[in-house]
């Protein structure tokens, strides 16, 4: 018998699995407020089997922006190496802030590192802003003001710069965009992160169920050739607190 020689499988059996992915369904919040996902029944049990088709925005639900979303000639979804998708996870806990115009600062990152150690190279750095609680209410989640400008937390451009110095694989957030509300002109966080060949994850959930560091992220986009964005399945594997 050979089972016991496999450390990975016996270690995984002790881990907790956290699904950071929202259900993908009609009516979920989208960037422009339109319907972003539709399924259609093409055949059903009376003909033997149920067969559906899907139509969606490329950037729907819990999803990834590849560099090519902003950068001409940038990496597409299918070009991103598995070594950038199966990576250490760091979670900045901003959930007590309760400010829709919050921008996460470099100081927040430095405080994190003081408490939990340096952000390791290749990490995925997630911001838990608490905004996911509005997901089921599209109006509150988009939080558009009278001029149509949306208000939700994001990152300062300077914070993106600091994270790039740490040689991260990507960033993620539980809102529609890491640029938040108060990055006044354009999308500087998108431009910095995607411009550096890294990726952005949006509309995450269950971030409060993660340890600040030490978990493993599985970032699994569909393998769309020429895809600038894609729905992902995002899962974290967390070790038991006292190790194995």
């Amino acid at each position: 018998m050979v089972e016991n020689q496999f450390h990975l499988i016996s270690l995984i059996e002790k881990c907790s699995f956290v699904d950071l992915t929202h259900d993908l369904d009609e009516g979920i919040p989208t960037w422009n407020g339109s319907c972003g996902f539709k399924k259609e029944v093409k055949m059903d049990y009376d003909q033997g089997v149920r067969v559906l088709s899907y139509k969606s925005h490329a950037g729907i639900g819990t999803h990834m922006d590849a560099p090519s979303h902003f950068i001409r000639g940038g990496k597409n979804i299918s070009d991103i190496a598995l070594e950038e998708l199966i990576v250490p996870l760091c979670v900045l806990d901003m959930s007590k802030e309760r400010n829709p115009d919050l921008l996460i600062s470099p100081e927040d990152v430095l405080q994190f590192e003081k408490k939990f150690g340096a952000i390791p190279p290749r990490s995925l750095v997630l911001a838990n802003t608490g905004w996911e609680k509005y997901w089921s209410n599209t109006v509150k989640y988009r939080n558009a003001d009278a001029k149509g400008k949306m208000h939700f937390p994001g990152f300062m451009a300077k914070t993106a710069e600091l994270l790039l110095q740490r040689k991260i694989s990507g960033i993620g957030i539980d809102t529609l965009s890491p640029d938040g509300s108060t990055n006044k002109e354009g999308f500087p966080v998108h431009e910095l992160i995607l411009g550096a060949g890294k990726y952005i994850l949006e509309n995450l959930c269950n971030l409060g169920n993660l340890p600040p560091s030490g978990a493993l992220a599985l970032v699994m986009p569909m393998k769309v050739v020429g895809g600038a964005e894609s729905a992902i399945r995002l899962v974290a594997l967390a070790e038991p607190e006292n190790g194995s």
Copy 2:
């Protein structure tokens, strides 16, 4: 500093990652021969960013059949627990057979177990039939005869029954269907596996790069509510041969 206490991350760094997912693109082989995936550019760099939309068969490319594909009231894609998706992997090597009408027998499974140990509960059992080499040629991959019947390897119904006794999570194959060519009436393998609440993975690749047992499968479907099928990202993590 806390990094060294995380066994999982240091173990993963020693593993090899194998992507078992075909590129998702227009023109890939489909069950009925029609175009199964289309992308459309909705906005492009001249307007600031590239934004696409996707339209696809639910069961496109490397994908999962959930129980609800065949079973009224069966589990949908989004109902499948992570404990059934992050599982031990067993790979039956049938790649030397070179018979388009091959059906994998219970004896093949018993031979595997004799050599590599019992198939562990919760395993994903994959058949490496070598058929993936035809993927880039839709006509050869579908291999339809004059009557339109397709010919490619699959499993015997009795083999599905034996695997269910092992309490597997699911099965997968590098062809369009685990029912192969010579299961004459209906789709007995689909009916057995999906009827038991397990899942089926189709159109896999790179199965020749896997160890027969001991690797970890990451089976990551999109989290489609009410989805009977979904494109997946399927990745294996394999430990170095001499352990860590």
